[in-house]
Symmetry: C2
Subunit: 364 residues, 2 copies
Amino acid sequence: MSADSLQTVAIDLADRSYDILIGPGLLSDDRHFDGLPKAATAVIVTNETVAPLYAQRLKDRIASRYGQVRVIALKDGEAYKDWASLNLIFDDLLGAACDRKTVLFALGGGVVGDITGFAAACYMRGVPFVQVPTTLLAQVDSSVGGKTAINHPLGKNMVGAFYQPLRVLADLDTLDTLPDRELAAGLAEVIKYGPIADDAFLGWLEDNLDALWARDKAALAYAVKRSCEIKAWVVGQDERESGLRAILNFGHTFGHAIEAGLGYGEWLHGEGVGCGMVMAADLSVRLGLIDAAYADRLTRLIERAKLPVHGPALGADRYLELMRVDKKSEGGEIRFVVIDAPGRASVRPAPDEMVRAVLAAHSG
Amino acid sequence: MSADSLQTVAIDLADRSYDILIGPGLLSDDRHFDGLPKAATAVIVTNETVAPLYAQRLKDRIASRYGQVRVIALKDGEAYKDWASLNLIFDDLLGAACDRKTVLFALGGGVVGDITGFAAACYMRGVPFVQVPTTLLAQVDSSVGGKTAINHPLGKNMVGAFYQPLRVLADLDTLDTLPDRELAAGLAEVIKYGPIADDAFLGWLEDNLDALWARDKAALAYAVKRSCEIKAWVVGQDERESGLRAILNFGHTFGHAIEAGLGYGEWLHGEGVGCGMVMAADLSVRLGLIDAAYADRLTRLIERAKLPVHGPALGADRYLELMRVDKKSEGGEIRFVVIDAPGRASVRPAPDEMVRAVLAAHSG
């Protein structure tokens, strides 16, 4: 790749600042690894799907910086984002006598990123890690914000930490091997940034969805960059998720309930978010915040992105129960991210009967 | 208690600053809980030994601040500082739909404090917690520094986080029920502060050891306060343990090897540290840093504190292997905290043959 096709988003977090590099060919050029700390050992944590595709390529890039490069390939899927997988990493690190300078590389999607980030946060109370996201969702969502976690049988992402990577390398070439269903799931998180923060970006997405579907690198680069910029702007004002940052969870309250209700892994996270955005937009209409035409416009874009717009028949009681245990609820009150106006969102409660009406219209 | 018998050590960590309150009667006076955040739920994490002694007393103090106060009594002992206990806490919190404002109270010794602190660090990526240490070791050691962790079969404290409490309440009355063996274990960490940071404090301890053994509240208050002050001074300069802070591990490299080699729980942590200090002092002599008379003086004080000064017969190879996997080792090189001069310590490597000579003299 030529140097000028490389995009960079700088994440400013004082002594934990880092860069997100976005572009094709990142895993084919040693220079993008310059400046990472040297150590006796690096450990690439990946999964069984991604390992045969990209583990060797990454290993080749970093072999000169580390005496030993280990590869841990976890089983693929949200169902494996659990204690057992986390312990596999700890067992390997301790079995190989890895010290606290060991650098972890998360090579894969959001599951690999979240679990590797959490392992890095906890191993010996913190070792450095680098993110190499290979899905669109991970490139736009996990790259910014420092959220790491594993799931618990009673809730998603319930055990985790805020922990920042040293660098994020979003190689757009890795999206060439991404299944369509996962590309769609990533688009859900991209689309999200329109209604909550940038109405013009929603328009851009309507114009460029076909190019994104064709995996056009320039279109992808802009979508990833703009998503990371918006997320960084939001997170920069609220690193620990006390207020504003919660708007990033647009569609997630309903979405998490769908994921948990079906059992993790049945729907992809982005699919839950896509459908959840339809529900949250409808809730916004019912709360009198936006007109139905805007919710319809958003729903059409979500449909064009080949995402589900109708939720499974869990029953309204079960949806409400699952949303109440969500970690964004407070004292049993569910807090929904709603659209206040095109490009602006806030967090607020809603009457149960209104939520039931939304669920009746968009699930079952 | 009268207000003026209350000692306070202020820990200055910007937005994570907190106070350590030290004195008798803290668990009998609501005022010491003023200013803690209110929430729907508080959870007291304790163990089966401490629960019948103090859980109700703590519950009575905080019942007015929380709609619900839950008590989780873990099994007692270092052997239970593991994933299974940590998950018991998460299971309980999620089963009760505890939200991210839930306040955890760690009521017990170092094991309870470490595991509760780590649970607080991870639950929903961080909930507030308060330490109520009921052992001398926990009062002087866990009160400052924000270290939380659980053990792994391959190493002690290998999985954890740096996470600060909202407040520490060190009620000296709780030491009245502390077994002698555990009082001695706590004295090991108190004694440590003399050789590494305050030679005058070593003299004070030689003069006041009998009063400490008699659990004299004034003597205990000074010993706890001075220990916390010294630790805070060290940690304040090096919160994340990159350099100076490592001197707090005086005696710990050998001590951890003893604990791990025998299986956690056989020796108390403080017993390992006591014996480990004897070994580390001898190593300092062999490195030509201090004279043998100072090491003898320290050994006599450790003996007077009824701590072991001779390690188990693990064999030198096993000691070295265990110390190499210790998280303070780097690239397989063991780093020892040694005394440079009375009241001053540093971290350095030592030749294997010298370590073997120390082990030959003080173990087996």
